[in-house]
């Protein structure tokens, strides 16, 4: 199957310098944060790729780059063969691309405008793209969308604050579905929710994917959730992908020491008492990353080249991994 979404050596640098006047007076050099470095991957139509990693690893930045909220400093992103830079232009093909790619956000309390009624929130993509113009038809479509996420047309009359976190997240999903997208980017969609509600949302997302043939990019720090929802997994560390491949391969037989460490850090719910390597160290400051492999100061398998050469992402045991030890 051919790739539906492609990222080709995408990098994003943020200018985090102090204001100009302070720089001049305090003689500080400008500083740049390399949030995402040379990230490349494909997502096939109808599959779910998950990106996991700890805070600051760049996974949310990747999500925002794909959807066009940020522009990549380097590299190219295509969806269904079209360059995503197109969405900032006007015209029919730009609108069509815009409709195709939608996003679900992390915080169900901040992602809905508190002053809008739910029906208007869900109808916004329809009105913006003039998918329907007749008000009765819009109402009917909104009711249908709310039905997809197990809410009723009557709920559309209410305001977001009258709903629980899980219900709000479902409203977000209904809004994202309103423009008939093919690709949904989900940025930590369940991490603000309680587990029982998280299960509702995850089940709903799986059902919708099956029924509508959606393609998902799923961003999360929770490995169990990622394991449940995804087909393929990419593990990110300090702006780079360190291991990416089929879920069963990556989680069942991790090849990068960082993936191993993340897996060992998951609390042992079933209390099997299986042996685990203790986790050590913390994520380094991204403004001043270590030389060579960024993971080398925490790595139990560190050897000669690790603090000098940066390992490339290479094909190894049915997945790609960026580690000197994997040869």
């Amino acid at each position: 199957m051919s790739a539906f979404v492609t990222l080709n050596n995408v990098s994003k640098t943020f200018d985090v310098s102090a204001p100009w006047l302070n720089r001049v007076i305090e003689r500080k050099p400008p500083s740049y944060l390399q949030a995402v470095s040379d990230v490349s991957f494909d997502i096939r139509k109808g599959e779910t790729l998950a990106l996991v990693g700890e805070s600051g690893c760049g996974k949310s930045t990747v999500a925002r780059l794909i959807v066009g909220l940020y522009q990549p400093t380097k590299g190219m992103i295509t969806v269904d063969g079209k360059d995503m830079r197109l969405v900032d232009q006007t015209g029919e093909s730009s609108q069509a691309l815009r409709r195709k790619v939608q996003m679900i956000f992390q915080d169900p309390y901040a992602s809905l405008n508190p002053r809008w009624r739910v029906a208007d929130i869900v109808a916004e993509p329809i009105r913006t793209h003039k998918l329907l113009t007749d008000n009765a038809a819009i109402d009917k479509r909104v009711a249908e969308l709310l039905g997809y996420v197990k809410l009723t047309a009557k709920d559309g009359e209410k305001f977001p604050h009258q709903f629980s976190g899980g219900q709000r997240q479902r409203i977000s999903i209904a809004r994202a579905l309103a423009s008939n997208p093919e690709f949904l980017i989900c940025d930590e969609p369940t991490s603000a929710l309680d587990v029982s509600v998280q299960a509702q949302v995850l089940n709903l997302m799986k059902d919708l994917q099956r029924e509508m043939g959606l393609t998902y990019l799923f961003i999360s720090h929770n490995l169990q959730v990622v394991h449940h929802i995804s087909d393929r997994v990419g593990v990110m560390y300090l702006g780079r992908i360190v291991e990416i491949g089929d879920k069963k391969q990556v989680f069942g037989d991790p090849q990068h020491p960082y993936t191993r460490m993340l897996l060992d850090a998951i609390p042992d719910l079933k209390m099997t008492g299986k042996a685990r390597t203790p986790v050590a160290g913390e994520v380094p400051n991204p403004l001043n990353p270590p030389s060579g492999c960024a993971f080398n100061p925490r790595c139990p398998k560190k050897f000669g080249p690790c603090d000098k050469d940066r390992p490339q992402l290479i094909q190894f045991k049915d997945r790609q991994v960026a580690c000197h030890a994997a040869v």
Partner: protein, 303 residues
Amino acid sequence: MDTLKRFFDGDIWWSFKQSPLTIGASIVALICILGAVLSPLLAPHNPYDLAQISLLNSNLPPSWMKEGVASFPIGTDQQGRDILSTIMYGSRVSLLVAVSAVLMSIVMGVSLGLLSGYVGGRLDSFIMRIADIQLSFPAILVALLLAGVGRQFLPRDQQDSLAIYVIVFSIGLTGWVQYARTVRGSALVEKSKEYVQAARVIGVSKWRIMVKHVLPNVLGPVLVIATLNVATAILTEATLSFLGVGMPPTQPSLGTLINEGQNFLLSGEWWLTFFPGLALVAMVMSVNLVGDWLRDALNPKLR
């Protein structure tokens, strides 16, 4: 109807009922405002109708004093006009000027603040530097300058009739900075929230996001400042009129009345300044108290 029901059921109405001081203040404010707005209907006399005034009634003290007359409850001025009526008509002018000036500040400040906060970049720096420069002068000085200079550019015979526009403009122009800064700050916060990002992902245009999404969410603090600023604007107008660059004696505001009355303060006709002054204090203080309450009621942290 539904909205009304929600309001009386809501937290704001409840917090209003909990505060006797606010209830008192709003009653006083309501009396002042009604008295001013409806002065042509409510005032016992029309002080500017020459047919109704008589020099025979000039300089009468309040009715409870020895020479007082019941039909002029708080006395008359040297032209025989009823002080109560002049105060009511004067309050109307003061209120009109203050409300118009505040509206002008809001329109200017909110739109510039919104642009500054949402668009950012050089436009933001430009608008905010102008605001900084304006803030480095005392507001009253700017208003004084504008009112004084603005007046010189008008033809002499129209100076009095156009005075109200000049004064609204000069007070309005000094007030926008506060709104612009507040709105800019809130716009920066709202801009980073996910619902704005969601609208961008949907493909909503920048202008529509600004007006439909950000604007409704930054107006809360504006309402509070506006209420408090009406009180300040009444005072500014009174000050300008007192200094002689405000409303002309043919269309006197409270400030003009106080200014005129102070000439007679030492000759014993204290009621000429005292009552307009009292009306000014009552109006400004009650509006301020309501504004203070509104600020606390709309602040979720203090609830």
